[in-house]
């Protein structure tokens, strides 16, 4: 947590500004670098532009919904390796399954307390091989400085 680059970058995709800002603020408080997007289309752009380490994807989104966005992300080799954690207030059957089908790596149901979300992000990041080939180890991601 010494350099900005050491902070894992999280792309938060949510159309509800209060939630987006709340998570953003807490993630930054918890030591993450945060990029935000308000819909699927924007999320695709940011994922390429900012190359985040992980994406928090709300599924009910205007313009392009989360499922479609996730599919496209997983279809694009530039972004395919980025883990996607689906985040939704919909808890009906088929939602999570649809999310996994679309390529989501994890699934979190709203409401989700900021600290619980941070735990899940860290869990997923721990299980995901880095794009540089190594595997993050430990509970907190501690990237080596290049």
């Amino acid at each position: 947590m010494s350099t900005k680059d050491a902070r894992p970058r999280v792309l938060i995709v949510d159309d509800y500004p209060d939630a987006r800002e709340m998570y953003s603020e807490y993630l930054q408080f918890s030591g993450f670098d945060v990029v935000e997007a308000a819909n699927g289309m924007e999320a695709l752009q940011r994922a390429v532009d900012a190359s985040p380490d992980i994406i928090l994807m709300d599924l009910s989104l205007p313009v392009m919904d989360g499922w479609e966005a996730t599919r496209r992300l997983k279809a694009d080799k530039r972004t395919a390796a980025i883990p996607v954690v689906a985040l939704t207030g919909h808890a009906l059957a088929g939602i999570s399954e649809g999310a996994r089908m679309a390529g989501c790596d994890a699934f979190v149901t709203k409401p989700c307390l900021p600290e619980d979300l941070v735990k899940e992000i860290r869990r997923v990041l721990d299980e995901t091989p880095t794009r540089k080939g190594g595997r993050r180890s430990g509970k907190y991601a501690k990237n080596t400085v290049n």
Binding site: Y16, D18, A19, M22, Y23, E25, Y26, F29, S60, T88, G89, H90, A91, L92, A93, G94, E97, K110, P111, C112, L113, P114, E115
Partner: protein, 737 residues
């Protein structure tokens, strides 16, 4: 007419000839005067008339006429006794105008008649004219009526019976001429009657002899008369062939005849003759014609003849054929008896069979008369002894109906006939329709010998048919009702189905609505809880203890609201059938520890002793981890909520039927037995008062039980009010199929 009579007659013939008186008369004529000459001539004329007349009636008539003309006898009747007759008949009469005199006769048995005594005594008698009834009583009834008349017996010899009577009318004394006339007439009459009788007796005797001879010869049985020494006196033709043989005949035949004579003589031995009356015995003779044995029955009778001594009349009856026939008859009779016994046995058996048949059977002969019937048939067609008049009528009517059926059968060409006869039950007169099946029995020659009829009481069948009809009607009725009901039910089912669809749609809409609502609730709640959490963590700078406590209240109420929202969501998902299962292999100890860890803050706050009792080496479960965790979490949080002191124990062990049981036991307030099932109902908390002591939606246990069922498990409770509760989740080891 015996031989003696004939001899007697011959003797008389020798002494009295018809012409004995003639020379005397001639002598008198030569010496008489002219008047006397004339008288003599009249007498000669009479004698000449007699000579030329051989007939009694003719001669008598002539004599009476002569007496009337010559002697002046104006009325006269001559009664003659014909040979063998016991009466006097009028042979001739003279001077009577009435023809009744021709039939005048006198019975010789009538001894009261003076004529009869005159006839017997041979004395002339005179009956003077009758003038009073008493006079008439002493007189016989004659054609002379009340006139006087003389009766003069006629007859040549005084020793002999009279020949007749001459009745002469008038009261004059009888002249010497008349005496001469009667004596001459008596002689002539005697001659005529005797001659006539002799010829007749001779002829009769000859006829009788030849008749007897032919009778004896006509008898096929041998008949013979033997003297006491056994010598043959008389034999008929058949006997002669057996007992006589001429010299010309063969030696064999003569030997046979000798043998027969010996056999007969010994049979007619002294013993046979001594015995009185007829004797019967068997006599074996030889047939001279062919030497065969002949069996005779010998019937011998001793006859006594005063002139010729006693003899034996024997009649032989040929019984050779008779005996053979008798033997044959005996044999036939024996065979017949055997056959009869067999036939009786057969008939008895047949009767037994026929009687054992419950249906009436009647056998009638070709004329329609009943020849056999069994007991049931007798009940129908024969009148019982103690039958009343009405019962008799029933039986008679039955008989008439049956007879007409049989008559119809007899005239028809059908071999078999089936018909219905309307009989009456002889016990109570109820109509008794019977089915009659009649069959003709034909002889070998195709002649009808009998008709066998079997009657079958149709009442039962009719009753059955009737019952069947009723049953069918009832069944049809039932079927109609069922169809109506079925149609009704189908209609209602359709209605229900539609309602069900509508309800399902409504339910789906509700679930969808709730899901949407929960989403809409969550989004703001998410922000509220997030910011509260951040404030408490001091993300936005340090907060004072008061503010922190107030923020904690916001947080806990927010969490409660979230729980409520989650539970409502779970129920709607389960109800909508949209609660997906994610099966995986889970390890129960790990899961239990995780739940305990999750509730650690509450456990610490409750100050209860929470123990774990986990059996070693529990197998892994194939189930939905999240659901199991949710259940155990709920059970443990309930236990903590309703237990104020004591302990809570979480145990995991193998149960029956290859299950693993996870139990949460507490020492809390407990649940009354009556409420053990209620707690699993939706929105149910036992304390429903507004000021209830325990929070919660009341959906927890209901959701847990449903989840357990989804996992093919069971959630049960054991509890006593005030003594704690034990909730047990039993899950199959093999997991959900």
């Amino acid at each position: 007419m015996g031989v003696g009579a004939r001899r007697h007659a011959t003797k008389r013939n020798g002494s009295a000839t018809p012409y004995t008186g003639v020379p005397r008369v001639r002598v008198a004529v030569e010496e008489a005067s002219e008047e006397e000459q004339e008288q003599l001539a009249a007498r000669v004329r009479l004698l000449e008339g007699f000579v030329s007349r051989a007939e009694v009636v003719d001669c008598t008539q002539y004599a009476l006429q002569w007496a009337g003309e010559v002697l002046g006898v104006s009325q006269s009747i001559c009664l003659v006794r014909p040979a063998g007759e016991q009466a006097l008949f009028a042979a001739a009469h003279y001077g009577f105008t009435s023809s009744a005199v021709a039939t005048f006769a006198v019975s010789l048995d009538d001894w009261n008649n003076p004529l009869v005594t005159t006839f017997a005594n041979r004395k002339e008698i005179f009956f003077p004219a009758a003038h009073s009834p008493s006079d008439r009583k002493r007189r016989p009834s004659t054609p002379f009526e009340d006139a006087a008349f003389h009766v003069i017996p006629l007859g040549a010899a005084l020793a002999e019976e009279a020949l007749g009577l001459l009745l002469i009318g008038g009261s004059d004394l009888i002249s010497s001429d008349l005496h001469w006339f009667t004596s001459i007439f008596s002689q002539k009459l005697d001659q005529l009657l005797r001659t006539q009788g002799l010829v007749e007796a001779d002829r009769r005797q000859g006829r009788e002899r030849s008749l007897l001879h032919s009778i004896i010869n006509a008898v096929s049985d041998p008949i013979l008369l033997t003297d006491t020494e056994g010598r043959l006196l008389i034999a008929n033709q058949r006997a002669l062939t057996l007992f006589t043989a001429s010299e010309e005949e063969s030696e064999g035949r003569r030997g046979a005849v000798r043998m027969n004579n010996m056999l007969l003589s010994s049979a007619l031995s002294s013993k046979a003759i001594e015995e009185t009356g007829a004797t019967r015995r068997e006599l074996l003779l030889v047939n001279p014609a062919d030497g065969s044995d002949l069996v005779f029955e010998l019937l011998s009778t001793v006859t006594e003849d005063p002139r010729q001594g006693s003899g034996v009349v024997s009649i032989l009856r040929n019984v050779t054929d008779l005996r053979r026939a008798s033997e044959e008859i005996e044999e036939n009779y024996r065979k017949m008896r055997v056959a009869e016994a067999q036939s009786r046995a057969e008939s008895d058996r047949l009767n037994l069979i026929i009687d054992s048949v419950a249906d009436p059977i009647v056998v009638t002969d070709a004329s329609g008369a009943t020849s056999l019937m069994n007991e049931p048939a007798e009940r129908l067609f024969t009148i019982p002894q103690d039958a009343s008049a009405i019962e008799q009528r029933w039986v008679q009517a039955n008989d008439a109906h049956f007879s007409s059926f049989i008559a119809g059968m007899l005239v028809s060409a059908d071999q078999r006939r089936v018909g219905e006869i309307g009989l009456s039950d002889p016990r109570n007169g109820e109509p008794m329709p019977v089915e009659a099946i009649a069959g003709k029995i034909m002889s070998e020659h195709g002649e009808l010998t009998a008709v066998v009829t079997i009657l079958h009481d149709r009442r039962e069948a009719i009753e059955k048919a009737h019952l069947y009809e009723q049953l069918k009607q009832a069944s049809d009725e039932l079927e109609r009702k069922i169809q109506a009901a079925t149609a009704d039910i189908a209609q209602q089912n359709e209605l229900l189905r539609r309602q069900a669809i509508e309800l399902e749609q409504a339910s789906a809409l509700k679930s969808q609505f709730l899901a949407n609502m929960s989403h809409e609730f969550r989004t703001p709640l998410n922000a509220m809880l997030g910011y509260t959490s951040m404030l408490l963590q001091g993300v936005g700078g340090e907060v004072g203890p008061n503010v922190k406590r107030q923020l904690s209240r916001v947080e806990s109420n927010g969490r409660h609201l979230l729980t409520i929202i989650n539970e409502i969501l779970d129920i709607s998902r389960i109800e909508a059938g949209r609660m997906p299962l994610q099966l995986s292999r889970i390890k129960v100890p790990e899961l239990v520890s995780e739940v305990r860890a999750e509730l650690e803050p509450i456990i610490l706050r409750s100050k209860l002793d929470v123990k774990l009792q986990i059996e070693k080496d529990l197998p892994a479960l194939n189930t939905d981890r999240q659901k199991v965790k949710q259940i155990v979490l709920n059970l443990l949080s309930n236990a903590l909520k309703f237990t104020h002191h004591g302990s809570v124990t979480i145990s995991a062990k193998r149960g029956r039927d290859k299950t693993i049981c996870i139990s949460v036991s507490d020492t809390g307030i407990g649940i009354a037995a009556a409420d053990h099932e209620k707690i699993f109902e939706d929105f149910r908390q036992l304390d429903n008062s507004p000021t209830r002591a325990y929070g919660g939606t009341g959906l927890g246990l209901s959701i847990c039980r449903r989840l357990a069922q989804m996992l093919d498990g069971k959630l049960t409770v054991q509890s006593q009010l005030g003594k704690g509760s034990t909730f047990t989740l039993a899950l199959p080891i093999k997991g959900r199929k």
